[in-house]
């Protein structure tokens, strides 16, 4: 059984000019121990999906429909208090920028201890010992001496390791990682990704990895969901989505990854821009930018349907294969 089931999730923002639907019928699931990648352009709703799952949508945004089922229990209708007991304990989160995720005036050890003691009955001494253990596990050298050092005494990469320790120390079953490597330089990115992968495997943690870096996805994930304008365009095992995409948008995304072998004058891109939330076209949201558009795409909204290797929301996904 899936650890997390998101069923037909809709998130809306009421504004003066009407209701904006930022997520529209998003459905996916994550199995225990699985790493699901979520990709898409800025504003496609990747981060919002994560925020909705942990119940931290910024008001006035709210879940307007659908269900979020975690470990057999619905999350979307829990009270703030009930949700607070689940956050951190069962679902952890890692944010983009390690420079700002840590409280600058609290030592990293204290932050770890606070997190663990919020959710588990631990004596101060045990909590400290586990804090040191966690710092060691995420690869902080001389962890026992640095446990009470402050965030500014660590480098960016080290800080992101601390953030990962912070997200994992209450041993959650699911971690939502929102662009965890974007703020880091490339060599550190690889280390952090490897670390997250190892820790997820060691502790059997599922990860929802939000990113716009296809390289990170290909390296890390078991399955990947491609989002466009608040909807899922394609979802499937990472190999299949990367190698043989069935949705024109996924194809475009893959095509825009520069190749090291082929020398080209211009980098490939998808023409146009993602529609604004108040002007999502009728039918398929991607139709104005799509090279394979047919009349039906402009009238009717495609649903996710199985293709040969993935699930894609495209009327023409299967005729390609046929």
């Amino acid at each position: 059984m899936a650890l997390l089931d998101v069923i037909d999730l809709c998130v809306e923002f009421p504004t003066r000019r009407g209701i904006l639907r930022a997520l529209d019928g998003v459905s996916f699931s994550i199995d225990p121990g699985e790493i699901l990648g979520v990709v898409g352009e800025s504003g496609a709703g990747k981060s919002l999906t994560g925020a909705a799952i942990i119940g931290l949508l910024e008001p006035p945004g709210h879940v307007a429909g659908g269900q979020i089922v975690f470990d057999g229990k619905r999350l979307d209708n829990l009270s703030q208090e009930e949700m607070r007991a689940i956050r951190g304990r069962h679902i952890g989160a890692i944010f983009q920028d390690p420079l700002t995720t840590l409280d600058p005036l609290m030592s990293v050890g204290k932050q770890l201890i606070e997190t663990m003691q919020t959710h588990m009955k631990l004596s101060d001494r045990d909590a400290k010992a586990r804090a040191v253990q966690w710092l060691e596990e995420v690869g902080i050298p001389a962890a026992s001496e640095r446990v009470f050092a402050y965030p500014h005494q660590f480098s960016g990469g080290m800080r992101q390791r601390v953030v990962i320790a912070l997200a994992l120390c209450a041993e959650p079953r699911l971690v939502i990682a929102d662009e965890p490597t974007t703020a880091l330089d490339v060599s550190i990115q690889a280390q952090i990704i490897t670390l997250m992968k190892r820790l997820a495997a060691d502790h059997g943690t599922s990860i929802m990895l939000v990113t716009h870096d296809m390289g990170v996805i290909a390296e890390t994930c078991d399955r990947v969901a491609v989002m466009y304008a608040g909807r899922i365009a394609e979802i499937g095992p990472v190999e299949n989505v990367v190698r043989s995409p069935h949705h024109p948008y996924t194809e475009g995304l893959m095509g825009s990854i520069p190749s090291l072998e082929a020398r080209v004058e211009r980098l490939r891109q998808i023409d146009g821009a993602m529609p604004r939330l108040n002007a999502i076209p009728k039918g398929c949201a991607f139709n104005p930018r799509c090279g394979k558009v047919i009349e039906r795409c402009r009238e009717e909204r495609p649903v996710l349907l199985p293709t040969a290797t993935t699930m894609a929301a495209c009327f023409r996904a299967n005729e390609e294969a046929a």
Binding site: G88, F95, T101, D103, T118
Partner: protein, 303 residues
């Protein structure tokens, strides 16, 4: 040891050492505070001890004038009380009132500011309108009003016993809105930061986030304002005492001393009011200069 060394090497101390005004002000403040705190042990006389007063010593001028008596360096008042000792004891009371009042202001202001800034919405609106309304009245007027109301409500016996508490409350209640505003502003900035979001993700409760994560991060500017307000609170107390609604004459603060001395100013006994007045002025000036420096030193953009 290590922490002390780090503190001595910090930018903060560096900036202090390069700023003569800050160093002099700090010296003056330390001197005044020491003299006040140690008054019962180092003051030459005890102005509260009626038995030691001798009317023959009354209205002596300071030592540098021809009739001066070296045992009363700054002269005496009409009851034969030593002006220097009076100032030391008076400063003690003035500082006590000011520190307690600002402590009270800080507690109320910080709590209101944190809640308004963190919770936001209608709670914020209501709390800030209260602040706005209070800020339309001068602080001293609020203090006078509170003082008057409390005195009217309390029975005379309780008034006697609670005089100090009443004036602390009156000054404290008149100064909290500033703190509340500052804390609210900083809190609104901090609550949008990722580390607060991270704390919420971890599942830490809102009161705990406010107390352990946001409060330390908003405290800097508040402490600067608190320092500046400490000087103003000393003046508030002096003003209230000068107007005769402050502390009783049996426990003279600097303001009380100035008020008494004022009556003798035109008959030539200038020292009774000028010395306490000068002490008050120098002390408040030093506290303000120190506060100014602190504001600059703690503001990274002004470095």
């Amino acid at each position: 040891m290590n922490a002390l060394q780090r503190f001595l090497d910090s930018d903060f101390i560096y900036s202090f050492k390069r700023n003569p005004v800050a160093m002099v002000s700090f010296g003056v403040v330390v001197l005044v505070v020491l003299a006040a705190v140690l008054a019962p042990w180092i003051a030459p006389h005890n102005p509260f001890d009626l038995a030691s007063l001798n009317l023959l010593d009354s209205l002596k001028p300071p030592f540098f004038q021809t009739d001066g008596d070296p045992s009363f360096p700054l002269g005496t008042d009409d009851q034969g009380r030593d002006v220097l000792s009076g100032i030391m004891y008076g400063t003690r009371i003035s500082l006590e009132v000011a520190i307690l009042a600002i402590g009270f202001s800080l507690t109320v202001g910080i709590s209101v500011g944190l809640i308004a800034g963190y919770v936001g919405g209608s709670v914020d609106a209501v709390l800030m309108r209260i602040v706005d309304v209070q800020l339309t009245f001068p602080a001293i007027l609020v203090a006078l009003l509170v003082d008057g109301v409390v005195r009217a409500v309390l029975p005379p016996s309780a008034q006697e016993a609670l005089q100090l508490d009443v004036i602390v409350f009156a000054i404290g209640i008149s100064r909290w809105p500033q703190f509340a505003r500052t804390v609210r502003g900083s809190t609104m900035i901090e609550r949008g930061r990722d580390y607060v979001m991270a704390a919420r993700v971890i599942g830490i409760s809102s009161p705990r986030i406010m107390a352990t994560h946001i409060l330390p991060n908003v405290l800097g500017p508040v402490l600067v304002i608190a320092t500046l307000n400490l000087g103003l609170a000393v003046l508030d107390e002096a003003t209230l005492s000068f107007l005769g609604v402050g502390l009783p004459p049996t426990e003279p603060s600097l303001g009380t001393l100035i008020r008494f001395g004022n009556d003798f100013l035109f008959s030539g006994e200038w020292w009774i009011t000028i010395f306490p007045g000068a002490t008050l002025a120098v002390m408040v000036l030093s506290i303000n200069l120190l506060g100014d420096w602190l504001r600059d030193a703690l503001n990274p953009r002004l470095r």
